[in-house]
């Protein structure tokens, strides 16, 4: 069997195994709840009808043995049937998630692109001037970036740009009267609402990624083929940007895949502060309302997105690295 096909099959099996693991943990989380998971929503909630209680008990199959419950729950999850939301509009959870997904997904992709555009040059420069003033300044920035609570940064930015110098709107996705604006007006209105959240998103991953890029670059610059390239008289810029950069970027692909859980977690805080109607805010509202189907739907979806990210990173790595593509890794 060709190496790439074997690799993909192994990966697919691995993904299935992880999916089972994730659902087992999610399922356990449901059963962590003291008493019946439906109590809070039904007996303690005068608004919940007996109909809602019956629906929830049917969803979790609480009268059946645990393994039967798990299998029926899992078969629903696979068909994206997360049940109906217990709070507010009682719409299907999957519909609510789908309408919130584009904003969060778009913000995360935009912030990933921005992060890479900033950290790759930063990491290269730090590695190139290792131990010099630029590298030291970058190191200090990295330490502060690691320690900066995202929600505090958001508060500072809000104070500076929305209160002290009111240049940007303080929260929400659109202004009042958005529908009456011209196309360019709409575009600017959206952009001005998203600048600060995007800044906070991106700042959160700058430190880790630039540090990683620096280490990766330093590793590569120590290799013999770099010395060879220099020795045969190639200009430094060619060696750095052609020989070294390509190899230094490989581990970055993996790290991108691994950074997805942090991004998803960060969206809860950022979207709550800036009142953005995304997935993170939906999850937060679900948590505050103890909306079990909504929480579980988000939890499983978040884990699935993480898995998809890891899989994509793995495939991209395989495409980018000829050693893996031809299956001669480590032979």
């Amino acid at each position: 069997m060709p190496a790439l096909a074997r690799r993909i099959i192994a990966k697919a099996l691995w993904i299935c195994a992880i999916f089972i693991g994730i659902t087992v943990i999610s399922f356990t989380v449901i059963h962590l709840a003291p008493g019946s998971p439906t109590d809070l929503q039904t007996t303690m909630n005068p608004e919940a009808s007996s109909d809602a209680r019956a629906r929830l008990e049917a969803l979790y199959g609480l009268d059946k043995p645990l393994h039967v419950q798990y299998v029926s729950w899992l078969s629903r999850m696979v068909r994206f049937d997360f049940g109906r939301s217990m709070s507010g509009d009682h719409r299907p959870v999957w519909d609510k998630i789908l309408e919130r997904l584009p904003l969060t997904f778009g913000m995360n992709v935009a912030s990933l692109i921005l992060t890479l555009a900033i950290t790759i040059p930063l990491g290269i420069a730090s590695a190139y001037w290792q131990g010099r003033v630029f590298d030291r300044a970058a190191t200090i920035f990295v330490f502060i970036g690691f320690a900066m609570p995202g929600f505090w940064l958001a508060l500072l930015l809000m104070y500076a740009f929305c209160i002290q110098w009111p240049l940007l709107p303080i929260s929400g996705l659109t202004s009042l009267g958005f529908d009456q604006l011209s196309f360019t007006g709409k575009l600017w209105d959206l952009t001005s609402h998203l600048i600060l959240p995007l800044f906070v998103y991106t700042f959160g991953s700058l430190a880790g990624m630039s540090r990683f890029m620096r280490t990766s670059m330093l590793e590569v610059l120590r290799q013999d083929y770099i010395l060879t390239a220099r020795a045969k008289g190639l200009p430094l810029s060619t060696v750095i940007f052609k020989h070294a950069l390509r190899n230094a970027l490989l581990p970055v692909i993996t790290i991108l895949g691994l950074s997805i859980p942090a991004l998803i977690g960060g969206s809860v805080i950022i979207e709550s502060i800036f009142a953005l109607p995304g997935l993170g805010q939906l999850f937060y509202q679900g948590v505050m309302a103890r909306d079990y189907p909504l929480i579980m739907g988000n939890l499983v979806l978040g884990a699935l997105l993480t898995l998809a990210g890891n899989l994509l990173a793995d495939l991209a790595y395989g495409l980018a690295d000829p050693r893996i593509r031809s299956g001669r890794n480590g032979q």
């Binding site: 943990i25 609570p149 929600f151 505090w152 209160i163 859980p261 809860v268």
Partner: protein, 278 residues
């Protein structure tokens, strides 16, 4: 004193000194909060609501007239306590699973390490929020949940150490002398695998403080009236327009404390493992 002025000294020990000073200062402030706080952190005072920083209240007062400095000192106790206990829990879990996986190897190792992979696939902040939603937000629940979702790094580290240590001669000698697996793991392997765990635990305190403050900021962590830096910022957010100091100082305290633990952790890494220096 000439030593203190040299660049060589600072480049080698700057992180250790800065980190150590910050951590020491914050710990002292937290320990001495009862004696050095100028006011009671929870007593309401309707005569001094939202007062800007002054001589009487160096960091101002909040919407209920409570002294911000006093609340921050007591908030430090909460942050550090959560940080230490959560890390204690995560290190205990990580150490145990890592040692067992690394020492026994084979199927046990495979099962534990695949479990680690699954846990790493979870957006841990989502998982923490979900669990807190099912339990009630309380100090002990937060510490347990943070600890139970952050042990994977330690488990991987310890497993790798145990894997190399179990083939060493002194372990073989202990085996020949008739020591059982428990004795070998805890008496012979554990002490030799502890150095990287120390680094990881120091960095872990920083991480736990950040998570606790995020949870409290969202209203799902430490519950008022008990002060924590996170819930002080939550209260500050509502009055950001006319009382910005409420949103400034607690955040600065989080930044400096986390910075201190990170610096200390990195410095320890350099000290304990010269190979990691780049």
């Amino acid at each position: 004193m000439t030593l203190l002025g040299t660049r060589r000294f600072w480049s080698r020990n700057g992180m250790l000194l800065t980190g150590g000073l910050i951590v020491g200062f914050m710990s002292l402030a937290a320990l001495a909060a009862y004696w050095i706080a100028p006011f009671d952190p929870t007593t309401l005072n309707m005569d001094s609501i939202l007062k800007a920083p002054s001589m009487a209240h160096p960091l101002g007062t909040d919407a209920l007239g409570r002294d911000v400095l006093s609340r921050m000192l007591f908030g430090a106790r909460v942050s550090l306590w959560v940080g230490f206990v959560a890390v204690g829990i995560s290190v205990s879990i990580g150490l145990f699973l890592g040692l067992v996986a690394g020492y026994f190897g084979g199927l046990v190792d495979e099962i534990i390490m695949r479990g680690v992979d699954v846990m790493l696939c979870f957006p841990s902040f989502f998982l923490i929020l979900a669990v807190i939603a099912f339990l009630e937000p309380s100090l002990s629940n937060i510490m347990v949940v943070i600890g139970a979702t952050s042990w994977m790094g330690v488990a991987r580290l310890v497993r790798a150490e145990a894997l190399t240590l179990r083939g060493r001669d002194f372990v073989l000698a202990a085996k020949v002398a008739g020591a059982g697996p428990a004795r070998i793991i805890f008496v012979h392997i554990l002490p030799n695998a502890i150095a990287p765990v120390l680094v990881s635990a120091t960095l872990g305190v920083a991480g736990a403080i950040l998570v606790e403050s995020s949870l409290s900021f969202l209203g799902l962590g430490v519950q008022p009236p008990m002060p924590s830096w996170g819930n002080m910022l939550m209260e500050g957010k509502d009055v950001l327009t006319f009382a910005p100091w409420l949103s400034f100082y607690p955040g600065l305290a989080i930044l400096i404390t986390v910075l201190g633990y990170n610096l200390l952790g990195e410095a320890l890494r350099d000290l304990l493992d010269p190979r990691m220096r780049d």
